[in-house]
């Protein structure tokens, strides 16, 4: 069992960030607090864009717009995002540049990466954004993506097996289509793909179950802290087959697959069932309970990532206060102000709300007032 002692741990933080032609910023140079950094401004002013730039430096892509070239400022030819990071006493320079119609260039300490995937996970980050409600309201794919993302961060073999599984699945589905078109079913051609699905599927299933054994207690703990109430929450992993009968189940589904022309059984269909007091959160949870559920999931992800990396990831809270009651916001910020959490970036529409909040918590906070793609003013609240 992984040990989740969250006492003071080494720290990673972004010290400086500079933007050129990134989204609505022509040029900006920002110096950050080690703890809280808040961006306040109206919708469209550009507060989320700063968070997105930080996200870029961790994941080599935007969380808001997947088309890289659309993140270049209107009528410009390129963008550059640069950051200075401090990790375990060492200082690293990260650079991400994109010219129109050219490939994205990503450098760490002036050295370009051969593959962007080598960078992902090195500067871990956990994002909370309004889109996270999909975890509860969306399809099973959203939930699988969440756990696959967390496990992949500490288990490279898992990621490799998942990619292999998905590729074999595409091949098998293509074959089932060919069978339907040609009205001919050739078992020998199908069996070889079944073997890929079984070998990798069973591994993935085992790892997901192991993951939940460790993840659940951490999640429960955060939920209790956030809600302050006595609700029982749990997550059930719903699997179509077990490790021991995976082969039989896939064989049993063969006739169904033939008719449907795709693979109907496997870990690509598994789901997570979120429960509160014995009922599904999706149907029976209040808005507040659903929010707490999502935030607890993300904080548990934070704890997992921190455990694996040995230092605190960066936390981004994009525009999440609006939909959350004041009490939950207070609980959440109090929680992440503790020293087992690291650097936090927040975007919000109300500067006064932010100021009041951090004064009452007594945490160090730098507030940036954002207006039309530039920083109009900064203000620092000192820790008490």
């Amino acid at each position: 069992m992984l040990n989740f002692d969250l006492s003071k741990s080494p720290f990673m933080h972004c010290k400086e960030l500079s933007l050129v032609n990134f989204k609505n910023y022509q040029e900006a140079n920002l110096g950050f607090s080690e703890k809280f950094n808040c961006f306040a401004g109206n919708n469209g002013a550009g507060k989320t864009n700063v968070l997105d730039a930080i996200y870029y430096l961790s994941f080599c892509k935007s969380f808001a717009n997947p088309v890289d070239s659309q993140n270049i400022r209107f009528e410009e030819d390129f963008f550059v995002v640069q950051g200075k990071y401090q990790v375990n006493g060492q200082e690293d320079d990260l650079y991400c540049g994109l010219k129109r119609n050219q490939r994205k260039v990503f450098k760490r300490n002036k050295k370009e990466y051969d593959r962007l995937s080598d960078h992902i996970g090195v500067y871990p980050l956990v994002l909370l954004s309004p889109g996270d409600t999909q975890l509860i309201l969306g399809g099973s794919e959203d939930r699988r993506k969440f756990i696959d993302g967390v496990i992949s961060q500490y288990n490279k073999e898992y990621l490799q097996r998942l990619l292999t599984y998905n590729r074999a699945l595409q091949q098998r589905n293509a074959l089932l289509k060919v069978f339907a078109e040609k009205r001919r079913f050739d078992e020998a051609s199908l069996e070889i793909w079944d073997e890929q699905l079984i070998q990798n599927g069973v591994y993935i299933l085992k790892e997901r179950k192991l993951f939940f054994r460790d993840f659940l207690p951490v999640f429960n703990n955060y939920y209790a802290t956030l809600s302050g109430e006595n609700e029982t929450v749990t997550i059930e992993y719903q699997a179509a087959a077990g490790e021991d009968n995976y082969r039989e189940k896939l064989l049993e589904a063969r006739e169904r697959d033939r008719i449907a022309q795709y693979t109907t059984m496997g870990i690509h269909k598994d789901d997570l069932l979120f429960m509160i007091n014995g009922n599904p959160v999706k149907k029976f949870g209040s808005q507040g309970q659903q929010k707490s559920f999502i935030i607890a999931l993300k904080l548990a992800q934070f704890a997992f990532t921190k455990k694996v990396k040995g230092f605190t990831p960066i936390l981004l809270f994009d525009d999440v206060f609006d939909k959350l009651d004041a009490e939950r916001v207070q609980h959440l910020m109090q929680l992440v102000s503790k020293e087992d959490f690291g650097q936090v970036f927040v975007s919000d529409t109300h500067a006064s709300r932010i100021e009041k909040l951090f004064k009452s918590i007594g945490a160090e906070c730098k507030i940036f007032i954002v207006d039309q793609g530039s920083i109009a003013k900064t203000k620092t609240i000192n820790a008490q």
Partner: protein, 208 residues
């Protein structure tokens, strides 16, 4: 589209620019270069290409490029006919020959199984491999699978293994010194040579 003073010039440039990796500018440079050469040289050049396409045949045994029904490798008395190395295409034969480490015979499949690309077992020279092993089971001792180390390569290996198992020949795979996803064509000669020498018996495990 550029206009040329001569239709002949334009036709030649267009043909060249249909080659992979050749743009209009390079095509024009090549054509002008040919115009500066002796007539006989250019005729020899064009004859080589046209004869290649018209006269080339594929070896009836291993499907390698050949001038006769049996290719030079299959005909050679110096080759070891107890070992067959199964590869995807002709470029792999050339790559392995360049290592100088393999003295057996080949079997060119013509690709790997990939339903997404419309390639099934029947589109590849798998039946002919099976027949070849069946017919020569007294002499053939080992079949080496040297397909690319992709998921599709692994899956094709598994299919071949199942087809060849009844003949009780040794089946081996080349050592995975090459990174996942690399094609044989891109592996350097030393690495490739080593991976053939260090081949291991095939085991029914697809992923490792």
């Amino acid at each position: 589209m550029e206009t040329f003073s001569s239709r002949l010039l334009q036709a030649a440039v267009e043909e060249f620019s249909r080659l992979p990796g050749i743009g209009k500018k390079t095509a024009l440079r090549l054509v002008l270069h040919l115009l500066r050469q002796e007539k006989e040289d250019v005729i020899r050049f064009s004859e080589a290409i046209s004869r290649l396409r018209q006269e080339v045949i594929y070896c009836t045994q291993c499907h390698n490029i050949s001038d006769q029904a049996l290719c030079e490798i299959c005909r050679s008395p110096r080759r070891d006919n107890t070992v067959i190395c199964v590869v995807e295409d002709i470029r792999d034969v050339i790559a392995i020959e360049n290592t100088g480490q393999f003295h057996g015979l080949y079997h060119v499949l013509g690709g790997i199984i990939s339903p997404m690309d419309g390639i099934g077992p029947n589109d590849l020279a798998i039946d002919s491999l099976q027949q070849r092993v069946e017919k020569n089971k007294e002499t053939i001792q080992e079949v080496i699978l040297a397909l690319s180390t992709t998921m599709e390569g692994d899956t094709t290996n598994f299919y071949l293994f199942k087809k060849l198992k009844p003949y009780h020949v040794g089946i081996s795979v080349i050592a995975r010194g090459i990174a996942i996803g690399d094609d044989l064509e891109y592996a350097d000669e030393v690495t490739l040579g080593r991976s053939i020498i260090n081949r291991t018996p095939y085991q029914n495990s697809l992923t490792k």
